[in-house]
């Protein structure tokens, strides 16, 4: 059978996967009694609901002509670079301070688009670092150092 709406199929499978995962992880959450519903009641209801609705959406994707998953390009480059930028900030901010973590994460983000002009980026980065050091560290008194040595 040919898939007619791969976008719906993927969405349905995603919801079903979430439901199955929640059901599996929460398998030992107690259900309690009718009078005192336990930790597991609502998660289990929601899991089954997700599996059911996900199933309907997936079935629709199989049978009804719909949008293809490949409709519109997947923005791999910005998706990866923006994600890496946030991860870099998270990993660097405590050990190296604001300036280094900002510059690294902003550069990673700039790599996400071919439109970046590096000279412009350099000026922008300096302004951003100086501005946020003044605003967040001096102004709002956030407990974060600006430079690795400060």
């Amino acid at each position: 059978m040919r898939v007619k709406g791969s976008q719906d199929l993927a969405a349905g499978l995603m919801f079903m996967a979430a439901g199955v995962a929640a059901l599996w992880i929460g398998a030992d959450y107690p259900l309690g009694s009718w009078q005192r519903p336990g930790t597991g009641v609502l998660p289990r209801i929601l899991s089954w609901a997700l599996i059911g609705i996900g199933g309907i959406i997936a079935a629709k994707g199989l049978m009804v002509r719909g949008v293809s998953l490949l409709h519109g390009a997947w923005a791999w480059r910005p998706v990866i670079m923006v994600t890496l930028a946030a991860i870099a900030f998270a990993l660097l901010v405590d050990s190296t301070g604001l300036a280094v973590s900002m510059v690294v994460s902003m550069a990673l983000c700039a790599l996400g688009t071919p439109e970046t002009r590096w000279r412009e980026f350099a000026i922008f980065a300096v302004i951003m670092v100086a501005g946020s050091a003044l605003l967040f560290v001096k102004g709002l008194g956030m407990p974060i150092r600006v430079f690795p040595w400060s």
Binding site: L46, A73, A85, A86, T116
Partner: protein
């Protein structure tokens, strides 16, 4: 409800809102909101998400006043972009594009902007009074609700949000459930058991609201927008003739009145809000008009009515949030997030326990609207210049503010990792055509629903029929079922037909 009560409430509100510092927050919110609203690709939800951590440093009144200001400011800025560059700054100004841009091309940008501003201001004034009139009786009603009624009301609210959501009903429903599931992560308040924490201590208190919205709305938006090529053609860099002619005003009066009424009503509905209001108002005007062929070619009614409607709706959508504690759309979920950061539990008790906060916020909307009309028209030149900031720099700035904002909440680098995860998830939702707004409502309402469900079951000694035997609860649930059946049925039928034809 006595008139004197209304007046004393409003005067309390105005005394709070008119405090110099609160006026400053209101102005800041309105200006930031306008600035962001002008920029296409950054909606009010993302803006509020970005600025949520900042409000942590403000007193609660100031925080809510500023957040509200961002919302209607963004509404307003969105229409400026719509009129000047044929691009909606945000979704509720999509219809303003139709006639607003045509007016601008005919050299009447000034008149269009002025009518949009006047319409918004008028609608804002009326809606402020409407909130003040409607809130106390609704609050009183809400205080008589039992846990079962509350539980059913939340179900009804969620169903409304699903029914009125754009796109597939089934997907919206699934997103609500997924949101509720995410809302349950962390320590179960009733039993102390941990749920879905994977042993990660940052999750013991649940998934943070701020990392969630920043990831889903901020990060995902950058990812989606960075691939889009930029094309912005400004009609005119100079806008002249800001004063509308007498004929313009006469032509717009009735549409503004109708738009305000329609928008005000639709705004109260959960899931409705500004987008639905502006679309309906435009359709209504076109139907009522004796010359419907003028619409789409620069009819001033086509600007006046939707602009009045979206502002009225933006404000009346505060009513269910303020009185019942139930968010009707993603923006209201954001307001609730703002309240929770300050330890305020939204619900009918807010009006009683913190009258200054409640009425102050309502009164501030009037000030905010006044500031918008006085400040924005002369500042149009500045706003249009903001459009020249290239997205390649804007996206970097947004990313950075997401990171530093989340970090600043608890000085926790791990929470910054969460926005990376939610950003990826948000992009996946975007590619799978799943609106994230219902997920956010589920996230807020899921844990509340569980608390009320348990309380209802405890009170009824384990009899689940309590949801059907209490008249209010039964009515809410009945309405919810009817609504769901109405929207789902045609879908099923259509799907069957197509399947049979194949």
């Amino acid at each position: 409800m006595e008139l004197s009560d209304l007046l004393s409430n409003l005067s309390l509100g105005f005394s709070v809102a008119a405090k110099p510092l609160n006026l400053v927050w209101c102005l800041m919110g309105a200006l930031i909101g306008t600035a962001i609203g002008v920029l296409p690709g950054v909606g009010p939800v993302a803006t509020m998400a970005l600025l949520l951590p900042t409000t942590y440093y403000l007193p609660p009144e100031g925080a809510l006043i500023m957040l509200a200001g961002i919302y209607y400011g963004a509404q307003y800025g969105g229409s400026t972009t719509a009129i000047l560059i044929n691009l909606p700054g945000e979704s509720s100004s999509v219809v303003t594009v139709l006639d607003g841009y045509q007016m601008a091309r005919q050299g009447r940008a000034g008149a269009a902007l002025a009518i949009a501003a006047i319409g918004s201001f008028f609608a804002g004034c009326v809606a402020t009074v409407a909130i003040a009139v409607a809130a106390p009786p609704l609050t009183q009603l809400a205080q008589q609700f039992g846990p079962a009624d509350y539980c059913s009301l939340m179900v009804l609210g969620l169903v409304f949000a699903i029914v009125l959501a754009r796109g597939s009903v089934m997907k919206a429903l699934a997103m609500v459930f997924l949101g509720m599931l995410l809302g349950l992560v962390g320590t179960d308040v009733n039993t102390g058991n941990l749920r879905f924490t994977f042993g990660i201590s940052d999750l013991f208190d649940g998934i943070g609201f701020v990392p969630l919205v920043m990831g889903l709305f901020g990060m995902a938006e950058i990812m989606a927008n960075m691939t889009n090529e930029e094309r912005r053609d400004l009609v005119t860099s100079r806008v002249t003739g800001l004063l509308p002619t007498w004929a313009d005003i006469k032509a717009s009066t009735a549409p503004i009145l109708r738009g305000t009424a329609l928008g005000g009503l639709l705004g109260i509905l959960p899931g409705g809000g500004a987008v639905l209001a502006s679309f309906s108002a435009y359709t209504l005007e076109k139907k009522l008009s004796r010359t419907p062929e003028r619409f789409g070619r620069g009819a001033i009614e086509g600007v006046a009515a939707p602009e009045a409607a979206n502002n009225a709706a933006a404000q009346t959508s505060f009513i269910p949030m303020l009185t019942l504690g139930i968010p009707s759309n993603a923006v209201m979920a954001m307001m609730i997030g703002g309240m929770m950061i300050h330890g305020i539990v939204p619900g009918p008790q807010v009006m009683q326990d913190r009258p200054g906060l409640f009425w102050g916020m309502i009164a501030s909307m009037w000030f905010g609207n006044l500031m918008l009309i006085v400040l924005n028209l002369p500042m149009i030149g500045l706003w249009t210049r903001m459009l020249l900031v290239p997205y390649r720099l804007l996206s970097i700035a947004i990313l950075f503010f997401c990171c530093i904002g989340v970090y600043s909440l608890n000085n926790s680098a791990n929470e910054v990792l969460f926005i990376a995860i939610f950003g990826l998830l948000g992009y996946l939702f975007f590619k799978l055509d799943c609106e994230p707004a219902p997920l956010l409502l589920g996230f807020i309402l899921g844990p509340l629903l569980e608390v009320y469900m348990r309380r209802a079951m405890l009170l009824s000694r384990g009899d689940a029929m309590v949801f059907l035997t209490r008249p209010l609860s039964a009515a809410f649930l009945g309405l919810a079922v009817v609504l769901l059946v109405i929207v789902v049925l045609p879908n099923i039928r259509k799907a069957r037909e197509v399947a049979f034809v194949e």
